[in-house]
């Protein structure tokens, strides 16, 4: 990644140094990993959105690079009632809660897990069974060419670890909840999640990033998921960060034979956000189904960058991402499908559909296919435009006011993604939660 904005950001270096002195009890391999990652970050610097830097062509992270962020702030107070108001909730869901980047044991609950399933904080797992993490941590998400993953790795201290033994089935989704309190100010957090799903295991994981804070804080999350043969993993990411915040999140998945991975990425928060999702279909029969919905308004900037690597024969991938853009917001969709040589019978479909609701909104889409073998079936499509005028006319001719008709059409557009969510309780929650910003925004759209 050709890069560098500011000189190797010294605030991060000093924060790293002070953290390093506190983490002497970490295993040696982890300290080495963190040191190397910090050096890598210092070398890479924050990426710049200049010409020729393809991965960051449409997204400038200059506001993040220039932000003055606190790494050592104490966590604020949060209550269960507070969380239930902000995030989807079932009392039965096992959960780990992080408040202002710090683990909160009082709000967390790991009671209802099947035998053998381990859900711990990363700090706990590192202290008790580091050997189980060593082969995976930092190996699924590449920190050598991505500055934000390098930064997260350098600050690797806490987060969530979910280890599912072979054959185990989790009936309830595991919820990993990151909340930033209103009084937290401009903090930086680098949470890490590691999921190791054993053979034939089945589980659903929800990662929620939520805040009502108006501060320009920065979340730099990395999630690593390893799906063993025939594992079935459903993953949902809800990015509902505070209106002035920055969010960069990388989710990296490695899939073994016949494993199935579903991902839903719902984004409506943050001033500037980037979701990276990278799937490696490493063995035959692996399949993934990736869907996304983003709602942007005001001057938000949201970037969804996806990569699916078909590295083995008989692998299947589906991508469907939708964007609803309002105000002066800007959304970016970059999807890459790579079919490597020898990955015959690969089957890939990639769709990006975007709805522009207002003047001043901008969508940039770059769905790309790189096919290095012949016996494949790959297609992609991208659309951008306003609401279908004939559909609008149809509804209005049946007596619906314009705003109601618009609202109905926008909801219909979004519902394709919401209704296909593998985790059913999220559907109703999102329907309720996402309906609000949509209804409010119509008034601003010129008729």
């Amino acid at each position: 990644m050709p890069t560098v904005t500011a000189p190797p950001t010294s605030p991060y270096q000093s924060a790293y140094d002070s953290l390093a002195s506190q983490s002497a009890q970490q295993p040696a391999w982890l300290r080495d990993l963190r040191r190397n990652a910090m050096q890598r970050f210092a070398h890479l610097g924050f990426p710049t959105a200049r010409r020729g830097n393809e991965p960051w062509k449409y997204t400038s992270v200059a506001p993040i690079a220039q932000a003055a962020l606190a790494h050592d702030a104490a966590a604020g107070a949060a209550t269960l009632a507070h969380l239930k108001r902000l995030a989807p909730w079932r009392d039965a869901w096992p959960r780990l809660v992080f408040v202002d980047g710090r683990y909160n044991a009082r709000l967390s609950s790991c009671d209802s897990l099947p035998r053998g399933v381990r859900l711990h904080t990363l700090a706990h797992a590192l202290a008790t069974d580091p050997a189980a993490l060593e082969p995976h941590l930092g190996h699924i998400a590449s920190w050598t060419d991505d500055a934000f993953v390098a930064l997260n790795t350098a600050f690797l201290a806490d987060g969530a670890v979910l280890i599912i033994p072979p054959g185990a089935v989790l009936e309830e989704p595991v919820h990993i909840l990151h909340v930033v309190t209103d009084g937290a100010g401009a903090i930086a957090a680098h949470p890490r999640t590691l999921v190791l799903a054993g053979d034939r295991s089945r589980a659903a994981i929800i990662e929620t990033f939520v805040s009502a804070s108006g501060a320009a804080y920065f979340t730099n999350a990395v999630t690593e998921i390893v799906a063993a043969p025939s594992a079935q993993i459903a993953h949902a990411k809800l990015m509902l960060e505070g209106a002035a915040s920055y969010h960069v999140g990388g989710t990296c998945v490695r899939q073994a034979q016949d494993s199935a991975f579903t991902s839903a990425s719902i984004s409506s928060g943050a001033a500037l956000a980037r979701n990276n999702l990278a799937i490696l279909l490493a063995s035959p029969g692996a399949s993934c189904n990736l869907s996304g919905l983003s709602l942007t308004a005001g001057s938000q900037h949201l970037d969804n960058t996806l990569s699916v690597d078909h590295a083995a024969p008989h692998t299947t991938s589906r991508q469907i991402y939708k964007g609803i853009l309002d105000g002066q917001s800007r959304a970016v969709f970059v999807g890459r499908v790579l079919v490597r040589q020898g990955a015959t019978k690969a089957d890939a479909v990639q769709r990006s559909k975007n709805l522009l609701l207002s003047r001043g909104a901008e969508i940039d889409a770059k769905p790309s296919l790189e096919i290095l073998t012949d016996d494949v079936r790959c297609s992609h499509g991208a659309t951008a435009g306003e609401l279908d005028q004939s559909a609008l006319f149809y509804l209005m001719s049946r007596g619906l006011p314009r705003d109601a008709a618009r609202s109905l059409l926008v909801q219909a557009f979004a519902s394709e993604i919401i209704q296909s969510l593998a985790i059913a309780p999220l559907r109703t929650w999102l329907d309720r939660r996402l309906a609000l910003p949509l209804a409010a925004s119509h008034a601003e759209v010129p008729a």
Partner: protein, 480 residues
């Protein structure tokens, strides 16, 4: 021994070289080279100044040749290229069949169309660019009567300096990109066409490019202006003899269409692709762009790209006038070790502008084929419309096909659609044909031909037959 003599003794491949005595500058590029080119061509002062400005800009780019394309080649030594080579006897151009590459003739025999015959039959006015200097134009009288100017660029600079001053660089400024800057500095000739108001050009205008001299780069520049309500169809064919060394072709084409004007630009590109091992061949780094400047103007690019070792080419349209139309129809074929990174850009500025992109990529052997295209809708482009379809066909497990569209929409009333697919020749289709008694090779070719049909039907008929056969010749050994 002159440079030309030395070069004449150089070993070259099995291909053909016209033994034409040439007036050739030594290798290398400097301000002096440019002054010399300008002087040899007897250019007015304004041209030299423009060239020098371009050269100075090129120097600031310091060898930053574009690196984003999905192609790889050794760095080009720009001092190791001859920037000017003119045939000494001006009548020695490829005006008769004896002068034309026997390889090409053999190819044309396979196609069943005698080259010259075909042109005469179809009434194509030819402006042949042999290496760097335009040597002959035909059908001058017919065109003169209508007030159509069709001549070499050098003549246009001398005889129509006002038009050149007005339009040169107005679509592709010398600051546009690395190769456009280089071309602006050193271009030696090319074609110029001007169609006056309300005139419908009765014949297809044609330029025939050929790189003959070893180690020369071909830097031609084409400028076509269609005045209000004018129409012109322009054909461009390209060939080069086979050589073991790579040759650089860095051309610039500028099209300007005023109110209600239409320009149809068709290219059959068959530069030497290098041998089966990827040695030699032409580096085809070309900047082609049209400006649909006037209301209801239309620019249409059709290209069949079968040649060149590397193709780097994005014929584009700037849709500036309201209700203007841009079209891009392309077949790009790579075989052996050819690399192509080609596509288009449709920049929508005006209201109700429409663009259509149909691209068909065929990859065989170890070829690498990339479609790279941009559709940009700017805020003022009310009700702009784009439809893009890119299909790739893979023949063999060692080739590759990439599709990289960029879609940038900044107006909510615009409708943009992009679709693409990649697959091999369907076994079902093949089976269907073969069970009706068609041999596998014929069946494959039939399917491939069908795959390209949408594009071929956009070509003038005499080109369409040739294109289809050219495809067959280029794919020999890759199908069946």
């Amino acid at each position: 021994m002159t440079t030309a003599d030395r070069l004449a003794q150089k070993e070259y491949g099995y291909g053909f070289v016209s033994p034409v005595e040439a007036d050739t500058l030594p290798k290398g590029l400097s301000e002096d080279t440019i002054r010399l080119i300008s002087q040899k061509k007897g250019e007015p002062e304004f041209m030299l100044e423009w060239r020098l400005k371009a050269y100075r800009h090129w120097l600031t780019l310091e060898g930053q040749s574009p690196a984003w394309a999905n192609v790889s080649h050794d760095p080009i030594d720009f001092q190791d290229i001859i920037y000017y080579s003119a045939p000494k006897g001006k009548t020695d151009g490829p005006k008769n069949l004896q002068e034309v590459d026997p390889e090409i003739l053999r190819a044309f025999e396979k196609l069943g169309i005698p080259l010259e015959e075909q042109k005469r039959l179809s009434g194509i006015a030819v402006d042949a660019v042999f290496d760097s200097v335009s040597v002959a134009t035909t059908y001058k009288d017919t065109l003169d009567k209508l007030g159509i100017i069709f001549c070499s660029f050098s003549e246009a600079v001398k005889n129509h300096p006002d038009l050149i001053k007005k339009y040169l660089g107005s679509v592709v400024p010398y600051t546009d990109n690395f190769y456009a800057a280089l071309n602006a500095a050193v271009f030696s000739d090319g074609s110029f066409a001007y169609i006056p108001k309300g005139v419908r050009c009765p014949v297809e205008l044609m330029t025939y490019f050929r790189i003959n001299q070893a180690d020369t780069g071909q830097f031609e520049r084409t400028l076509i202006v269609a005045d209000e309500s004018a129409y012109v169809s322009y054909l461009e064919g390209c060939t080069a003899p086979s050589r073991k060394r790579n040759q650089l072709h860095a051309a610039v084409v500028e099209l300007v269409a005023l109110d209600n004007a239409e320009i149809k630009y068709s290219t059959l590109q068959n530069w030497f692709p290098g041998d089966a091992e990827g040695k030699g061949g032409v580096y085809n780094f070309v900047t082609k762009r049209g400006k649909a400047l006037g209301r209801k103007s239309k620019i249409s690019w059709t290209q069949v790209e079968t040649g060149s070792a590397i193709t780097w080419k994005y014929p584009s349209v700037i849709l500036q006038g309201d209700d203007s139309v841009g079209e891009f129809y392309s077949v790009a074929l790579v075989n052996n070790r050819q690399q192509a990174d080609t596509g288009t850009k449709m920049i929508h500025l005006g209201k109700n502008t429409r663009s259509t992109i149909i691209s068909k990529g065929i990859s065989a052997g170890r070829g690498q084929n990339t479609y790279r295209g941009l559709v940009r809708i700017l805020p003022g482009a009310e009700h702009a419309r784009n439809y893009t379809q890119c299909d790739s066909l893979l023949l063999g497990s060692a080739c590759s096909a990439s599709t990289v569209p960029y879609i940038e929409v900044r107006n909510p009333t615009a409708q943009v659609e992009h679709e693409a697919s990649t697959s091999k020749v369907s076994d079902d289709q093949l089976f269907y044909c073969m069970q009706r008694g068609i041999s596998e090779e014929d069946a494959r070719f039939m399917i491939i031909n069908g795959f390209c049909r949408e594009i071929f039907k956009e070509l003038p008929w005499e080109f369409a037959v040739e294109a289809s056969q050219l495809l067959k010749v280029s794919l020999e050994g890759a199908v069946g």
